[in-house]
């Protein structure tokens, strides 16, 4: 959908810069295509900022009035002159100059990114450098500008908002701040742990080492979705107790001791929050299948079995009322108000119209801060033993681990994995289009069919993680960003060899 809108904008005469190592549909529409090496985003972005500063194309007024940290940051960027950036990223210096000029001349410029930026050991830094670029050019807090992270799953935004994070209660209220812990202790009427918990990759490590004894999984499939899958399987097998709620017997559910059947979106009532922070209704279209029940009913029943007293006779609508009472940004949300178009949070009160864009007059931290960040090489780069760079992603017709999309007609569009490989690389390996290969990394191996295409540059291969027959995450590196723990799914080193099918 975002792709449609970008293409429509280009047809209406807007300019487009695409930064992607892969040739994607949008590169056909781009005025400038920056084909940088995976894992060199910071260098590229700093290079753009360098040119914008050098040529005095930045928004002086915006930076002076609304930002801080400029001086220190500009010293960092100083070192990223286009020639040096060319060496790191492989993008021609002239093209960097051109892109910097095009970007800074726009009256309103948007930056749209997704996992390509975040799934690196430098993920947080990558995002910060994009934010630097946006504030440097005053592209924040007005319609049609800003930085847009795209959410992959339908309710990632909502799951974060609801506090399914180790360090936050609902509405990003910190678990280790006395005030918010006190508030929730009172609100829920029970003592609460005071230290932030473990993130998903840390949980897997803790399960592996035996610190975590029991894991409760609601609707996730880490065996296919998480990096270094062999490690994940060992971790899950090492648990005393694994319970999984899902609509299918996924690869993860198969390892469980108890599996509780859940319901699909068509059988339930509730809300999802999309990437625009818009809270929208999910309506029940069909009755329950078999002997299933909604996840919320299961949780309520289980809490009560364990001695608590959870009562929501009016169901999800009543749960939302409780959310509104303890989550300031959802304070004005109720089902009646969501009937037609949904509402964008922050929406603190029942007469508040919602907030279409953030940071209009101030940033949430007051001033916008420049963060000086340096290029950090990926944790694992190709070498003699593993000479190819593997990057991972998705295709249009499949979704995530495929448990839904592969059970629909979409499967016929792309029924199997096709590893992309550049014709030159393929020639070196004597691989033809349609050949089967074995791909191996330091962590595991998979088999896949090959597609020879110039959509990716020489020396690199591309795989998705949709297919259980080719569980790509056996290969990927679980090295993580030190701040937010996102794994480096976009870069690791592999070798390939041709095999018979």
């Amino acid at each position: 959908m975002t792709g449609y809108r970008i293409k429509q904008a280009v047809r209406n005469g807007r300019k487009l810069i695409v930064a992607d190592p892969r040739k994607i549909e949008l590169t056909n529409y781009a005025d400038i295509w920056l084909r940088h090496r995976p894992g060199t985003d910071i260098a590229l972005i700093n290079g753009l900022a360098h040119v914008i500063l050098r040529d005095n194309l930045w928004d002086v007024e915006f930076v002076c009035e609304r930002c801080e940290g400029f001086a220190e940051w500009s010293e960092v960027v100083e070192g990223y002159h286009p020639k040096r950036v060319e060496e790191i990223t492989g993008v021609k210096a002239e093209l960097i100059e051109e892109a910097a000029h095009l970007f800074s001349q726009a009256e309103r410029a948007s930056i749209v990114y997704a996992m390509g930026i975040t799934q690196h050991t430098s993920g947080t830094q990558n995002v910060l450098s994009l934010a630097n670029l946006a504030i440097l050019t005053g592209n924040v807090g007005k319609e049609g500008a800003g930085v847009y992270p795209l959410r992959g799953q339908n309710n990632v935004q909502g799951a974060c908002d609801m506090g399914c994070l180790p360090n936050y209660y609902p509405g990003y209220q910190l678990v280790d701040a006395l005030e918010s812990r006190h508030k929730f202790t009172q609100f829920w009427g029970t003592d609460l742990p005071d230290k932030p918990g473990l993130t998903l990759p840390e949980m897997m490590d803790a399960a592996y080492s035996g610190e975590i004894k029991a894991l409760y999984i609601m609707g996730e499939n880490p065996v296919l979705a998480d990096p270094d899958a062999n490690h994940v399987v060992k971790a899950l097998k090492n648990l005393d107790f694994l319970v999984v709620q899902d609509i299918f017997l996924t690869e993860t559910a198969e390892l469980a001791e108890v599996v509780l059947p859940a319901v699909s979106f068509a059988e339930k009532v509730g809300t999802f929050t999309n990437t625009e922070r818009r809270i929208q209704r999910v309506r029940k279209a069909i009755t329950l299948r078999g002997n299933t029940q909604s996840d919320w009913e299961t949780l309520v029943a289980l809490a009560n079995k364990m001695g608590h007293n959870w009562v929501y006779p009016r169901g999800p609508e009543e749960i939302m009322e409780e959310i509104a009472r303890c989550t300031p940004s959802y304070g004005g949300i109720n089902y009646d108000r969501l009937e037609t178009r949904g509402l964008q949070w922050p929406c603190p009160t029942s007469d508040h119209p919602g907030t279409p864009y953030l940071h209009r007059d101030t940033f949430s931290r007051g001033k916008g801060k420049f963060h000086g960040v340096h290029h950090i090489p990926a944790a694992e780069e190709p070498d003699e033993d593993y000479p190819l760079l593997l990057t991972t992603g998705r295709n249009l017709y499949q979704f995530h681990t495929g448990s839904m999309s592969r059970r629909s007609k979409l499967e016929r569009m792309r029924p199997e994995e096709l590893m992309m490989m550049h014709p030159d690389t393929a020639k070196d390996y004597r691989i033809k289009d349609g050949d089967y290969v074995q791909v191996e990394s330091r962590r595991g191996e998979v088999k896949t069919k090959t597609q020879v295409t110039d959509h990716i540059p020489p020396g690199m291969v591309f795989l998705t993680f949709h297919y259980k027959e080719t569980p790509t995450n056996r290969l990927t590196n679980s090295a993580r960003d030190p701040v937010c723990n996102i794994p480096e799914l976009k870069v690791c080193a592999v070798k390939v060899k041709k095999v018979m099918n």
């Binding site: 799951a159 609801m162 699909s264």
Partner: protein, 349 residues
């Protein structure tokens, strides 16, 4: 704002409105075939013509901007007779198998013939008969029912960018088709189905609805797509407690536009692989259990570990596929029942 008169009543409307839009917003329906909000206006079907005082020709209301003091008649005798003529021409070259048409009862051509009492056509002659293209996985193309409104051509080019369709030949032989008349598999089609959703007649029809039920028997439920974070609004078509298809809903930010996943990715809901009962693994094999049994079992196991090890021995992964309400209860469960902050989900993947 300008003030205009429509059918004798005065209205004040924004100056950049077309007559069609001004009428629509004031509750006056003008029939259209080729007009679709957001797409290039072609004014080619002429169905929306109106009479404007002082102008001799009838004007296409979709393509005519309002002007101060304009006086418009939307259902004058001249207008009606022009619309009748268009309809007569259309049905002269239309495969009128209404009896079994999937759009029977939900078809603009039928609706307007009824509205303007067009029962037959004086224009008798050749009718075009094209073989029905059933080759693609998702929808059929029956061009003997195509009225050449061109909406599929525009939406595919202007919204998707796939440029699959175009008009071929001229006059009576005009046909909408894909490049080289290829089946869609061989084109740049991305199976978004938007062409199907804008077709006003029975020329483009989802395969999944064929022979499943008449339009009036199908319940449409507006909901949010279950795939990606864009959160497109769509309508599920439900018959006899089963989903049979999806159609556009214009209330959301997606303006009725969808991608292949939202449009055609719903069949997993009815997959034979759906879990139907709680399962407990005993001696390495799953056995079906009742909810009571399974929940008691889980509670007992969790309780045991809690007593022995405390909250730090637990971790929970919730789902970006579940609702806000479920995610809220999940973290509440982890924090208040199992006493741990070890709760996360797949935002990082």
């Amino acid at each position: 704002m300008v003030s205009i008169t429509i059918n004798g009543n005065q209205y004040s409307v924004p100056a950049d409105y077309s007559i069609l839009k001004a009428a629509e917003e004031n509750g006056i329906n003008i029939p259209t075939l080729c007009y679709e909000e957001g797409l290039t206006i072609t004014g080619s079907c002429r169905m929306c013509v109106v009479e404007v005082k002082g102008v001799r020709k009838l004007l296409a209301s979709c393509a005519t901007p309002v002007t101060e003091g304009m006086e418009v008649q939307t259902e004058s005798e001249r207008v009606i007779s022009a619309r009748r003529d268009i309809l007569r021409l259309l049905i002269a070259n239309h495969d009128l198998r209404c009896l079994t048409c999937e759009r029977n009862g939900d078809c603009r051509l039928q609706d307007y013939c009824y509205r303007y009492k067009v029962e037959d056509t004086p224009y008798k002659g050749d009718k075009k008969h094209y073989p029905i293209d059933t080759d693609n996985h998702f929808f059929i193309r029956d061009y003997s029912k195509c009225i050449k409104c061109g909406k599929c051509v525009s939406i595919c080019a202007e919204v998707n960018g796939a440029h699959v369709y175009d008009f071929m030949e001229r006059g009576f032989d005009t046909k909408v088709t894909s490049a080289f008349d290829d089946t869609l598999q061989e084109t740049t089609c991305t199976a978004c189905g938007m062409c199907v959703n804008v077709c006003p007649v029975g020329a483009l029809v989802e395969k999944s609805v064929l022979w499943e039920g008449r339009p009036w028997e199908v319940k449409k439920v507006t909901t949010t797509c279950s795939y990606c974070g864009v959160g497109c609004q769509l309508k599920l078509k439900v018959k006899d407690d089963r989903i049979i298809g999806v159609t556009a809903d214009k209330s959301g930010s997606n303006l009725g536009h969808l991608c292949a996943k939202g449009q055609f990715g719903w069949e997993y809901v009815h997959s034979q692989d759906r879990l139907t009962d709680p399962l407990i693994k005993r001696n390495g094999v799953f056995e079906k259990a009742s909810w009571e049994e399974a929940l008691t079992y889980v509670a007992h196991r969790l309780q045991g570990i809690l007593q022995e090890r405390g909250g730090q021995a637990f971790a929970g992964l919730s789902s970006a596929k579940c609702t806000n309400e479920e995610n809220y209860l999940f973290q509440k469960f982890m924090r208040t029942v199992l006493h741990t902050n070890n709760v996360d989900h797949c935002a990082r993947l």
